[in-house]
Symmetry: C2
Subunit: 250 residues, 2 copies
Amino acid sequence: MSEKKSEDAGSTGEIQGAEQVIRHVALLIEQGRLKPGDRLPPERELAQELRVSRPTIRAGLHALAAMGVTESRQGAGTFIPHGPPRLGSGPLSFLAALHGFTRDEVFEARRVLEVGAAGMAAERGLTDRLAPMAEEVAGMFASMTEPQTFLLHDVRFHRAVAAAAGNPVLLALVEMVSSLVYERRRRTVERALDLKESAEMHRRIYQAIRDRNPERAREEMSRHLDLARMAQASEESQAGVLPSHGVGSA
Amino acid sequence: MSEKKSEDAGSTGEIQGAEQVIRHVALLIEQGRLKPGDRLPPERELAQELRVSRPTIRAGLHALAAMGVTESRQGAGTFIPHGPPRLGSGPLSFLAALHGFTRDEVFEARRVLEVGAAGMAAERGLTDRLAPMAEEVAGMFASMTEPQTFLLHDVRFHRAVAAAAGNPVLLALVEMVSSLVYERRRRTVERALDLKESAEMHRRIYQAIRDRNPERAREEMSRHLDLARMAQASEESQAGVLPSHGVGSA
DNA sequence: GTAGAGAATTGGTCTAACCATTCGGGAGAC
DNA sequence: GTCTCCCGAATGGTTAGACCAATTCTCTAC
């Protein structure tokens, strides 16, 4: 009963529908005809080219947008974002909500990633990546009375460490997991108790990386994340019951 | 005639359009009214409920599907997948193609994740997770003349190790990164030279975890991935120029 | 030369229909 | 009574044409 359908196989294969749009864009990317910052052809043009209707094109583009591959701006066009490689936090947020990831589990995954990143950063010793980290540490010490600002520097410090590891894949993963934590932390950071101690821990991490001491960098990062996990648990218990990992869209 | 913009604005806010669909589903999940395995309401019903047209609903559902949150089957309905938490490889594949991740970078990220996972698996020593690993090792020794089958066991062994770490977040990350590697490896594994040595390395990793020796587990996993990276480089150089990281859809 | 208004471009949405697949229930055969 | 087969309802997939909204470009007026 498995009679084949139309054999009009074009260059994109026989796939029909929204899936075809994704394949087409993937092909353009592989061929180097689409790079970060570029604009895709208008929807109407794509529709004509792929011989499908515009809503079908739009379905495919929505899927690409959800994967973070494209961004659409009404009136302007659909673009491939430039900037560093970035995995959206959406998928992980949904998984967290669906499967009830605990705070400890998320922190544990984060520790694996960030301890590794801290070690790599220390080993590699890319000197031009030191200043961004140092600046964020300074920012923390300067904002100990403004928890939200402090948290911002905190986020950026960890991102800077991941960047100093010099591996874009690792950086994207760190950002994806971190964003889960920070989305949640933003609501409770006002209750934080020991911002000064936190700032000093970050400083020690920085110093270990600066001194190109991977062992110490790993240790300090590991200890820091353990303490941060407990601190967050404490903040949340003060705040009462929170909705489980929100499905934040960032 | 609804003069007013629908004032039914529930807790979903006043967001209009496809975004609203995503928020709505996210809300249902947070409230526990949608769990893995469940079926979503039919599109026509959602459209009526959210006061938007069906194409808009469909756009949102396509976005959710791209994030791996839902799966649609024509004639049956739209479902939330059951099974373990899973991050699709699509987003990472696109990032790889767009930013030209090198093989070494991907392996490096993989090493951070899997060395951590191996260590955790050994520390935790969940005895009921040992058998799956052992079975895959056996499968490798049994399929040294069939590279594709060998590769399958290889994939599943690494997944089993990540599962033995007992952290679903880490498991999802490992699978996402691994799938990038394996998608690529599938094309060159026929040229593999030392499947026996590879099988024995996997066996040593298993033994270290079984013996609850985290240090050795980490070491063995690290060494294995380094060798695997070089092996794959060798296979690819034999195969000539390959298209850069394909945007595989899995 | 510059600033503003208008036109063209482009993504966002709607309505209304038809197609393709799946699944369940009822009719018929045994 | 049980089983099998088929048909129709339910549901996702696609199409078509139209209109709205935001952006961008261009051309005019000063």
